[in-house]
């Protein structure tokens, strides 16, 4: 488990955002996202304001813009959907360089593009500044049901172990001269998925027995409940409060 404590999107730098308690960050990102989603799509400049807020957070968190941009490509399928909307949408149409576009579709495309991108960027900033363990701890302190935090803890702890299992099986297969790579060779791939399940399940049984022999009775010891100081809540609330301010100004303006 040497490398099991970070995750691919974590950016290990020291910044004020990294030092915030995880629960305040999760709450801030959730509120931010909700406000963004309920903002009417016609309030164009509000979304510019939101983007500016995220840019400020990114600067404070020392997350490079290029890093963010690269990882935001996860959103691409939805951008493709957004591009299709003006052509497929119904209702009133306008002509633009000889293309007949639906006004509603254009608005919809903008809606998906703006809200989707802002959501992905906010999630990326959260992931970049929070380790896996902290994230679970944050969910736990936000009163997420312990069943889920426990399952998630086990999942994340053993994910790397299983991924390594899979890698070893693949190397074993390669070193025996077989490299399935096309659909008609799918059997070898699926058989190793089956083997992976068996290994995972049997490992789960062993882990459970090991826990029972150490006194586990259905509950994990609660992590020391060092609550986030009020100052951190205050600092993190700057994001949703500013967001709400922009949203209200846009609604009344």
């Amino acid at each position: 488990m040497g490398a099991g404590h970070a995750h691919p999107l974590h950016l290990a730098t020291a910044s004020p955002v990294h030092r915030l308690a995880p629960e305040v960050k999760i709450a801030a990102v959730l509120l931010f996202t909700i406000i963004v989603v309920v903002t009417p799509r016609e309030k164009f400049w509000a979304f510019g304001g939101y983007a500016l807020l995220l840019a400020v957070v990114a600067v404070v968190a020392r997350v490079p813009a290029l890093w963010l941009a690269k990882r935001a490509t996860i959103e691409l399928p939805f951008v493709l959907l957004a591009i299709a909307l003006p052509f497929a949408g119904r209702g009133e149409r306008i002509d633009w360089f000889g293309l007949s576009l639906s006004v509603d579709g254009l608005h919809g495309a903008w809606n998906i593009f703006a809200k989707g991108t802002l959501g992905v960027l906010a999630s990326l900033l959260l992931a970049a500044s929070t380790t896996m363990r902290d994230l679970i701890l944050g969910l736990d302190r936000l009163r997420c049901p312990t069943v889920f935090t426990q399952i998630a803890t086990f999942m994340l702890r053993y994910l790397d172990v299983l991924a390594d299992d899979a890698r070893r099986m693949r190397i074993a297969r390669l070193s025996r001269g077989y490299d399935p790579r096309f659909l008609w060779q799918v059997k070898a791939f699926a058989v190793s998925v089956g083997a992976l399940f068996l290994r995972a399940y049997e490992r789960g049984e062993r882990v459970y027995l090991a826990m029972v022999s150490r006194g586990y009775a259905g509950r994990l010891p609660q992590p020391e409940s060092g609550r986030a100081p009020a100052g951190q809540w205050l600092a993190a609330s700057a994001l949703p409060v500013a967001t709400a301010g922009i949203a209200l100004a846009a609604l009344w303006g």
Binding site: T33, V36, G91, L135, M155, E205, G218
Partner: protein, 232 residues
């Protein structure tokens, strides 16, 4: 392109409908947790955690379908057959929540929609089909493989139609619904066939080696005839 989002992002479906589905997802998951405890009692956390890690790891294994086109398993039906609907739904939901928080895959406000489609609708459809098919098909590795294939295809398509329903209720753009429905179904039949082939072979492998681990075989078996040793 390594990873592309398969999950609904923010802003596709409007706020109120997203909120309704979030409430629905929470309620349904509470039921799943209660039922899953019947299957696993205090083993629930470690076992479901490992199965969720398995689903996550399997999703990271890409398989080349055609040169340049690679696919990976979604794992919902696989989980249903191997560990049952309740644990399966919890595992898939956990994977979705972590993907949303750690990998920015799927919008935070759309989490209820994603859980409803993939973890609830998908597994429910898969489970009903598995339960139904195993009444007629032989309960051995081959029968299970056929079941897994059919259930995978249908459950993936049903999950995609869940999106169509949500879009009909709270879509942010007025699109012709038959078009959305047809496109989603078409794409997902293809995904489902790939999913089904891999799931079928996988469960057949497990059923041959450790049939006692396969939930579907354990729970839909006719009452086993206990062979009594005649000790005279």
């Amino acid at each position: 392109m390594e990873t592309t989002a398969m999950h609904i992002a923010n802003g596709i479906v409007d706020g109120p409908v997203s909120a309704v589905f979030a409430v629905l997802a929470v309620a349904a998951l509470a039921v799943c947790v209660r039922k899953a405890r019947n299957d696993l009692d205090e083993r629930l956390a470690p076992m479901a955690g490992l199965v969720a890690a398995f689903i996550f790891a399997v999703q990271m294994l890409n398989f080349q379908v055609l040169p340049g086109v690679s696919g990976h398993l979604l794992g919902g039906t696989l989980a249903v057959i191997l560990v049952g609907p309740w644990v399966g739904a919890i595992c898939v939901s956990t994977v979705l929540i972590v993907q949303c928080l750690l990998f920015a895959d799927g919008g935070l406000t759309a989490i209820g929609l994603n859980i409803t489609n993939m973890a609830l609708l998908g597994t429910a459809a898969g489970y009903l089909l598995v339960a139904g098919l195993l009444r007629v098909l032989p309960r051995n590795a081959k029968g299970l493989a056929v079941t897994a294939f059919i259930a995978s295809v249908v459950s993936v398509v049903v999950a995609s139609q869940g999106f169509v329903l949500e879009y009909a209720l709270g879509g942010t753009t007025d699109l012709s619904l038959p078009w959305v429905s047809g496109t989603m179904a078409g794409v997902h039949v293809l995904i489902g066939i790939g999913e089904g082939l891999i799931a079928a072979t996988t469960v057949a492998t497990v059923a041959r080696v450790r049939p006692d681990l396969v939930y579907a075989l354990r729970h839909f078996r006719k009452p086993a005839v206990v062979e009594q040793e005649v000790t005279a």
